[in-house]
């Protein structure tokens, strides 16, 4: 497509090449070389959180609508997919995934309606309603968890046709495929007129209205698209990563975690979503390993964990002071230091 071609000529193909190499390694090397621990406890949650961050970035980074309800849409996706699987016999998994995302999108659009009147902090507070309402509804009505007294659901085995994804490596590959496909589709959306409309609404709503951007449709599309992506991420979180989930797992902390990912990674950057997710998932693990190795004999594990939180918090502050546009801006700066000839282009 013409608009893709232009961006490619503006940006050296080196970057496209790197993304290609990354995908090849992710498919060809990692599933065979990675340990079960790495695949199951690090890479799969990284992919799922990255997809959720891509979803939130569409809404907050690109369209400028702040949301604190991400975890609610993760929960909606997870529980919708579970119930569809349970109550519609023979429903293919991929269709289940899309429908669950669709249900999350529908609920996202409903909770996006206040965005027509509210902005900034006020909108953020109104999206909190989604957070609390969804968690309350899932706990209150046993039907959603098939009347399991603790509200916990056990995810079914991932199966497409006769192929089932049971081992850690297989579930990783399944998640990877969904995440890659949806990220590419999101990229296409962001590079279309709809994507430009998002940024126009974010940067100058009145000017956007004057040039004929349909504000209502654009904002609701952002909410719908974002909730769809986060909903699918919720399905992966439940089915591919944890395999047994409860409403309490989708609390406000999770919403904040996703928000921090996009702030640390870089707003309005899809690459930033991945870098931010990697940081949030991997960094605490690294820190706890290092802490345990160095100071494990001196302090007990409770103290270590506490100091871990403090170190991460402090690092985030230092970092955002040094580079408010997130890790991706640091990355780009380093990259252009290596290759100064790069022409200025729009990052994605």
């Amino acid at each position: 497509m013409a608009h893709l071609a232009r961006t490619k000529t503006g940006r050296p193909t080196a970057e496209t090449l790197w993304i290609g190499i990354g995908i090849v390694v992710a498919y060809g090397v990692v599933p065979f070389a990675g340990s079960d621990y790495l695949l199951d406890a690090v890479l799969t949650p990284f992919l799922v959180l990255a997809l959720a961050a891509v979803g939130l970035n569409v809404l907050t980074g690109y369209a400028g609508q702040v949301s604190l309800g991400s975890a609610a849409f993760l929960a909606v996706g997870a529980y919708a997919a579970y119930n569809l699987h349970l109550r519609v016999p023979g429903l293919p998994l991929l269709l289940d995934l899309v429908l669950a995302g669709g249900i999350a999108a529908a609920i996202g659009i409903v909770f996006g309606l206040p965005s027509l009147r509210l902005r900034g902090f006020y909108l953020a507070v109104s999206t909190l309603a989604a957070q609390f309402f969804v968690q309350w509804a899932l706990t209150k009505f046993g039907w959603f968890s098939n009347d399991n007294p603790s509200g916990v659901i056990d995810a079914p085995v991932l199966r497409i046709g006769s192929v089932s994804f049971t081992t850690a490596a297989e579930r990783y590959v399944f998640s990877l495929t969904i995440v890659v496909v949806l990220t590419l589709l999101t990229l296409l959306l962001l590079r279309s007129q709809s994507g430009r409309n998002f940024i126009a609404v974010r940067d100058h709503e009145i000017a956007a209205k004057v040039v004929g951007v349909p504000l209502l449709r654009t904002k609701l599309l952002a909410f719908g698209m974002s909730s769809f992506l986060i909903g699918v991420a919720g399905v992966l979180w439940a089915f591919a990563y944890l395999r047994t989930v409860e409403p309490a797992g989708f609390n406000l902390d999770r919403s904040f975690q996703i928000l921090f990912i996009i702030i640390i990674g870089g707003l309005a950057s899809l690459r930033g979503s991945f870098i931010g997710a990697a940081f949030i998932v991997v960094f605490p693990l690294l820190l706890s390993r290092i802490g345990a190795a160095l100071l494990g004999r001196v302090f007990d594990s409770g103290v270590l964990e506490m100091s871990q939180h403090i170190v991460i918090g402090a690092l985030i502050i230092v970092f955002l002071i040094a580079e408010p546009r997130g890790l991706i801006a640091l990355w780009d700066r380093a990259w252009s230091a290596v290759r100064p000839a790069r022409r200025p282009t729009i990052p994605t």
Binding site: R196, H204, A207, G212, L221, P344, T345
Partner: protein, 307 residues
Amino acid sequence: MSGIATGAGVLRLEEGPPAEPIHQSTRERDSATQRRTARVAQTLASPALGLAKISLTFGGVAALRDVDLEVARGEIRAVIGPNGAGKSSLLNIVSGLYRPDRGQVQFGEHSFDQVPTARLAAHGVARTFQNLALFKGLSVFDNVQMGLAHRVRAGFLRQIMGSPLARRIEEENRAAAKEVIGFLHLDDVQDCFAGTLPYGVQKRVELARALVARPKLLLLDEPFAGVTLAEKQELSQHVRNARDSLGATIVLIEHDIGIVMELSDRVAVLDYGRKIADGTPDQIRADPAVIDAYLGVAHEDDTELAV
């Protein structure tokens, strides 16, 4: 005469190469022909823009009182007056951002109590803002292309999948944006973020965004404020070209009296929300009321609050 020029979608600038007509589908061309015929008929009947008895108050303060304004097709119409006289309020009413307490706004044959801003571009009206209103996170090219946002009829799924309709619209819009960018000499900066450019260049980008849709009516809110003398001369040439080559009718708010008198066909003067004079530049220059209210006192270094 001017009505016929409006229909011809051709851009020309003396030093530049002759631009190609924008790409149009047969269907659009047919409807364009119809519109043109209709417009020629209207040229005699209705003005491009008519304001009738517009009044606007903010709380107890009357910003505009019974203002009438008629803008003929193809003319450059300036609105001047001291700060706080209600000039920007007038443009905001015309673009539907404010709703007048009383009065009517008329575009051609359409008459409104409040102009629907969302349909403004579809009615062939474009505007620039007193303080820049660019989309800082988009490139110059994308900013200009945003001026055609109202033309994109394909839904988001079609845009993602690149359906023939979505691609055709995208290509048409890109071609139109490219043409205007060439016209306003923005080629060198078209890949830069709009927010990173010097002020005068940003003003030009905003003009390009307004011109890309070939508006029938172009509203310019202080297009020359804060730019250098050389840029002023270049910009005023572009404004004149927008009328001469694109056939746009232009309403111009400006403090620089020199440029106003040189550029405009007729001038309306506002003071304290009332229209105190209306006529050709020569008539205005000689009008004692205007000299009292405005010309006699220098206000040019002041700026007003944002929209």
